[in-house]
C-alpha cells in the first residue's frame, strides 16, 4: 500500500480533525523535534495529551508518531505546490528511522515555526528558493536516527540484550542471534521515551549504499489524488454556510476608491453585500458567478496619490538603462571580490554590453483564492488556503483582525502552483477573504479571477544590466562589473526578512550577479534599485533568470571578441570547479555540440545555482522572415548533490526548462499609466505543448549535500537560446522576451 496524505479524501477540515484523531487514538509514541540545532526532544506522553494541540500554535508538536499498529505518521513542514517536498522531507526521516514506507502516513504540519521552521529561512515555515530538502536534510536525518535509537534501546531493554546486537529492517527491530523480532508498533505499545534525546554522530547515519528510500523514486504521496480529481486545493474548499467573494482591487498599488457606483452591481441577483475596502471594493454573494458579475459591474474611480500612477514600463526601462550606464552613481554592492575598479583601470581591453528584461508574471494555474470563517464575535478565524508560508499567513490574518495568532486556525491545502507568488509577507489574497468574512461573520470563499490574478499580479522586476569586463593582454578576464537597475523586490515582498536575516540585501533581485564559480579575481555587482510603485515578487529562478541571461550572453560576447569557442571560455573560467566542469562536459557530449545541423544551431549556457550545477544546450531554428524562434531540443546536465528523488529531479528540471522557455520567448507584462496591460492567457502567452522542445535531462548526482532542484534550469534557457541565435545569424539578442520584432531588429542591426 502506498502512503497517502491524511485528509486527502475528506472534507476541508479533515487534515486537522484527522491529526487530532491520530493523536488521541494512536496510543503510540510521539516524538518531537526542535529546529534549528538538531536538538531532538522526546516527549514522554503517549500522544493523548497532545490532542488538545490544534492549529493554535501548539507548544509542542510531534514530527513523528508511531501507532501501536505500526503506522508511522510523519509531519511534513513544506507546502506542496508541485515540487514534491511534501514527500521528500518525510522520506528523509523514514530513511534513517528505517520505517516501512508502506506504513508511513504523511501529515501536513500545522503552523509552528518553533517546531517546523525552515532553517534555511531563519526558522520560518516558508517553502521557496528550492530550499526544503537542502535545509531540512541533515536535521531530519539526525532526527530519524534518534527515533530509531529510542526504538532500539527499548527493544534491548525488553530482551535484556546489548543494543549493539540489534539491527533494523523496515519497521522491525531484529535480534539476529536469537531470531527475535519486534515491530515498531509493538515497541510503541510499551516503549519508554528518554527525557533527553540520544546523541547521534554523523558517522552513525546511514551510508548512501544502505539507503532504502533515498534515491529509489518512491511514488509521491500527492500524485494518486492528482489523477482522479480528489486532490483538494484551497479553491475546492467547502464550508457549511459559505458565501462567495470577489474584490475589485485598485489597479495601482496603494490607491483607494474615491467614488463607487455600485447600483448595477447591487442589482445582480444573489449579491448580498458591497464592501468598501482601503484598497478596493469587495462583493459578497450567494454564488461565485454572482460575485464575479457584480465585481465586473462596479464603477470605481481611484485616488491618484500613489507613485505608480503615470508609470510607463517602456519609458521606465530607458531610465533604468541610463541609471545602469551612469558609472558616476555607485549602486548597492553585492558579490564583491578583489578590487574591480582598480583592475578595470589596468585592463588592456574593456568590453561593455547592455541587456534588458521585461516584467514577468507567475501564472500559477490556480488563481489566488482563500476561504475564511471569522467567528461571530470577530475574535477568532479559521482559514483555508494554499500558502508558501503557513505561519506568515497566520500572522497576516491575526494582524488584519487585531487578534492573537493563537486565535487563527490555518488549514494549508495543496497549492495549484506557487512559483513565489504565494509567499509574500502580507499574504494579501488571504487577508482579502478575512476582510470579507469579517463583514458578514460567515465563511467566505474569496476567488481572484484570472484577470484579477494578472492585473493585480506581483511581477518579476523589469531590469537593465550594464556589464563590463576588463581583459588583460592575454585576453583573460581580470575585472568584472555588473550594474543592475531594477525595481526593488525583497523590501516589498518581505520587509521583515529584508531587514532581518538578509541585512537589507535585495537578494531576490541581485542573486546570480555574483559569479562566484567563475575564475574572475576582481568582481563587483551593484544594484541600482528603482522606486516605481510597481508590485514585485520573487518568481521562479528569482534574480538568476535575468542576471544569468546578462552574464552568460556577455561571456559569449567576450568569447566572440577573443575568437574563442563559448564553451572553451567557460571551461577556462571553471578550471578550479570540477563539479561545474563535469556538467559542462556532459551537456556538450549529450547534445553532440560540435555536430553542425542544417537549418539549426546550438547555444550553450552554464549556471551555478546555489551550488546546484547546471549546464544546458538549446537547439533552435529561426524563421528569418518572421523572427519567430523555435527550440527543438534542450539538453541539460544537473548535479544537485545527493539525489533524494531522482525521477522527480528530472521532472523538476523539465519543468524549469519549460518555465524558462516562456520567460525567454513570449512572456511579457507591460504597464501604461501604472496599469497592467495584460489580462489573461491570450495576451500573456505561456508555453503550450506545441512550443516545447524535446528535453533531455542527465541527472549527475554526487555525494555532496543535496541542493535545490526546483528552478535551477530556468536561467539556462534564455542565454542558451540567445547563443544559438547568435551562432546562426550573428544577431545579438539582448532583451527578453525574444519577441519576433526584437529578433528581426537584432538581425537587421
Amino acid at each position: 500500500m502506498a502512503p497517502y496524505i491524511e485528509g486527502r479524501h475528506g472534507s476541508a477540515g479533515a487534515p486537522h480533525v484527522t491529526r487530532r484523531e491520530f493523536m488521541v487514538g494512536a496510543a503510540g509514541l510521539t516524538f518531537g523535534f526542535l529546529l534549528p540545532g538538531c536538538a531532538a526532544v522526546a516527549t514522554p506522553e503517549k500522544g493523548a495529551t497532545l490532542a488538545t494541540s490544534t492549529g493554535n500554535a501548539p507548544a509542542f508538536s510531534p514530527w513523528v508518531s508511531i501507532a501501536t499498529d505500526g503506522t508511522v505518521y510523519i509531519q511534513s513542514p513544506a507546502a506542496e505546490m508541485g515540487q514534491g517536498s511534501l514527500t521528500s522531507l518525510p522520506l528523509i526521516i523514514a530513511e534513517e528511522l528505517d520505517a516501512d514506507w508502506a506504513k508511513v502516513r504523511v501529515v501536513p504540519a500545522p503552523p509552528d515555526d518553533k517546531v517546523y521552521g525552515n532553517p534555511g529561512f531563519g526558522g520560518v515555515m516558508y517553502t521557496a528558493g528550492s530550499n526544503a530538502v537542502r535545509s531540512y536534510f541533515q536535521p531530519l536525518r539526525v532526527f530519524g536516527a534518534q527515533v530509531r535509537r529510542v526504538l532500539l534501546d527499548n527493544a534491548a531493554r525488553r530482551w535484556g540484550v546489548a543494543v549493539s546486537e540489534l539491527t533494523t529492517e523496515p519497521g522491525v527491530v531484529v535480534h539476529a542471534k536469537s531470531g527475535r523480532r519486534l515491530g515498531y508498533g509493538e515497541i510503541a505499545a510499551f516503549a519508554e521515551i528518554p527525557a533527553k534525546a540520544p546523541a547521534i554522530t554523523p558517522e552513525e547515519l546511514k551510508k548512501p549504499e544502505a539507503f532504502r528510500l533515498i534515491g529509489k523514486d518512491v511514488m509521491r504521496v500527492d500524485l494518486p489524488g492528482k489523477v482522479d480529481g480528489t486532490a483538494r486545493y484551497s479553491i475546492d474548499v467547502e464550508v457549511p454556510g459559505m458565501l462567495y467573494g470577489a474584490i475589485l482591487r485598485a489597479p495601482v498599488e496603494d490607491s483607494a476608491p474615491v467614488d463607487v457606483d455600485e447600483a448595477t452591481a447591487r442589482a445582480v441577483p444573489g449579491v448580498m453585500r458591497i464592501v468598501r475596502l482601503p484598497f478596493g471594493v469587495g462583493v459578497i454573494a450567494q454564488t461565485p458567478w454572482a460575485a464575479f458579475a457584480a465585481k465586473d459591474a462596479l464603477k470605481v474611480t481611484w485616488d491618484h496619490k500613489a507613485p505608480g500612477w503615470g508609470f510607463d514600463s517602456d519609458q521606465a526601462l530607458e531610465r533604468y538603462a541610463a541609471a545602469a550606464r551612469d558609472l558616476k552613481t555607485a549602486g548597492k554592492p553585492w558579490g564583491k571580490a578583489g578590487d574591480a575598479a582598480a583592475a578595470m583601470g589596468t585592463a588592456a581591453t574593456v568590453i561593455e554590453a547592455e541587456y534588458r528584461c521585461d516584467y514577468a508574471y507567475h501564472a500559477q494555474m490556480e488563481p489566488l483564492n482563500s476561504t475564511a470563517a471569522v467567528s461571530p464575535a470577530g475574535d477568532a478565524c479559521e482559514v483555508w488556503v494554499g500558502s508558501q508560508g503557513q505561519t506568515m499567513a497566520v500572522a497576516a490574518v491575526a494582524k488584519a483582525l487585531g487578534i492573537p495568532a493563537e486565535r487563527v486556525h490555518l488549514h494549508n491545502t495543496l497549492l495549484g502552483g506557487g512559483f513565489g507568488r504565494r509567499g509574500h509577507r502580507d499574504e494579501e489574497f488571504v487577508v482579502d477573504s478575512v476582510l470579507l468574512s469579517k463583514e458578514v461573520r460567515r465563511p467566505v470563499k474569496l476567488m481572484w479571477t484570472r484577470e484579477d490574478d494578472v492585473r493585480n499580479g506581483r511581477f518579476r522586476p523589469m531590469s537593465a544590466h550594464f556589464v563590463r569586463a576588463g581583459l588583460d593582454q592575454s585576453g583573460r578576464i581580470i575585472a568584472w562589473q555588473h550594474r543592475l537597475a531594477c525595481d526593488w523586490v525583497t523590501p516589498y515582498m518581505d520587509p521583515v526578512r529584508y531587514r532581518g536575516i538578509l541585512r537589507e540585501n535585495d537578494v531576490i533581485a541581485v542573486a546570480g550577479t555574483e559569479l562566484a564559480t567563475y575564475e574572475i579575481p576582481n568582481r563587483l555587482a551593484e544594484q541600482l534599485g528603482q522606486q516605481t510603485g510597481i508590485r514585485t515578487s520573487p518568481l521562479r529562478g528569482i534574480g538568476f533568470v535575468a542576471n544569468k541571461f546578462a552574464t552568460e550572453a556577455f561571456l559569449d560576447e567576450i568569447a566572440a571578441r577573443r575568437r574563442l569557442d563559448p564553451v572553451a571560455l567557460r571551461l577556462e573560467l571553471l578550471e578550479n570547479a570540477p563539479r561545474a566542469q563535469e556538467v559542462v562536459i556532459a551537456a556538450i557530449e549529450m547534445s553532440d555540440y560540435r555536430r553542425t545541423r542544417p537549418g539549426r544551431s546550438l547555444g550553450f549556457a552554464f549556471v551555478d545555482y546555489s551550488n546546484t550545477m547546471v549546464a544546458g544546450v538549446a537547439e533552435v531554428s529561426i524563421d528569418r522572415a518572421t523572427g519567430v524562434i523555435r527550440v527543438h531540443h534542450f539538453w541539460c546536465a544537473i548535479d544537485p548533490g545527493i539525489a533524494v528523488q531522482p525521477d522527480n529531479i528530472v521532472a523538476q528540471t523539465e519543468s524549469s526548462i519549460v518555465y524558462g522557455l516562456g520567460l525567454a520567448l513570449t512572456e511579457r507584462i507591460s504597464v501604461k499609466d501604472g496599469v497592467v496591460q495584460q489580462s489573461n492567457f491570450f495576451d500573456y502567452r505561456v508555453p503550450r505543448l506545441r512550443d516545447v522542445p524535446e528535453m533531455h535531462v542527465k541527472l549527475m548526482p554526487t555525494a555532496n549535500p543535496p541542493t535545490g532542484v526546483g528552478q535551477m534550469a530556468t536561467p539556462l534557457v534564455a542565454p542558451a537560446i540567445a547563443a544559438a541565435v547568435r551562432a546562426a545569424t550573428g544577431a545579438k539578442l539582448t532583451h527578453t522576451p525574444f519577441l519576433p520584432e526584437r529578433v528581426l531588429a537584432a538581425m537587421r542591426a
Binding site: V227, D228, M365, L414, M447, V658
Partner: protein, 150 residues
C-alpha cells in the same frame, strides 16, 4: 430546470440560464475535480466531455446541456483506473496537479476517437491545455503509454 446526464446518472439543476457548466459542477454539484483556470477557454483546466467530445466547461451555458451527457474526471472510470489515469501515474506526470483533470479528460477524449495517435496528433490535440509546471513531455509519454497498453 435543466436535466442532463452527469457521469452516467440523471441530474437536474436549477440555476439561471447562462450559468457556465464549470461553476455548476463545482459549486452546485460539488464535483471539485474540474478546475477553474482562466474562464476564457484558454487553459483547459475545466475540460470535461459533453456527449464524448472534449469541452471547455467554463464556456458551456447550462441550458445547452438539456438531454446531453456530461462526463467529468470523477466519472471517467469507477475506480480511477482508466488507462489514461494509470499511464499518468506510471509516467509520474502531475506536479502541482491543478491542470491534470483537464489534461486527462482531453487525452481520454483523443484516445477514444483515435486509439493510435501519432506524436504530431498528440501535440496538436493537447496544445489546448496549459500546464504551468511544464509536464508536457510526460503528458506525451503517458498518452503513448495509454495508447500502447490501453
Amino acid at each position: 430546470m435543466v436535466d442532463f446526464r452527469l457521469n452516467d446518472k440523471p441530474v437536474s439543476v436549477d440555476v439561471p440560464d447562462g450559468t457556465r457548466l464549470l461553476w455548476v459542477l463545482r459549486e452546485h454539484l460539488k464535483l471539485m475535480g474540474t478546475k477553474y483556470g482562466c474562464g476564457v477557454a484558454q487553459c483547459g483546466a475545466c475540460m470535461v466531455h459533453v456527449d464524448g467530445a472534449p469541452a471547455f466547461s467554463c464556456q458551456v451555458p447550462i441550458e445547452t446541456l438539456r438531454g446531453k451527457s456530461v462526463t467529468t474526471i470523477e466519472g471517467l472510470s469507477p475506480d480511477g483506473r482508466h488507462p489514461v489515469q494509470r499511464a499518468w501515474l506510471a509516467e509520474r506526470v502531475p506536479q502541482c496537479g491543478y491542470c491534470q483533470s483537464g489534461q486527462i479528460m482531453n487525452a481520454a477524449a483523443l484516445l477514444a476517437r483515435n486509439p493510435r495517435p501519432t506524436r504530431a496528433e498528440i501535440v496538436d490535440h493537447m496544445s489546448a491545455n496549459l500546464c504551468r509546471c511544464g509536464t508536457y513531455q510526460r503528458i506525451v509519454r503517458a498518452i503513448e503509454r495509454a495508447s500502447r497498453e490501453g
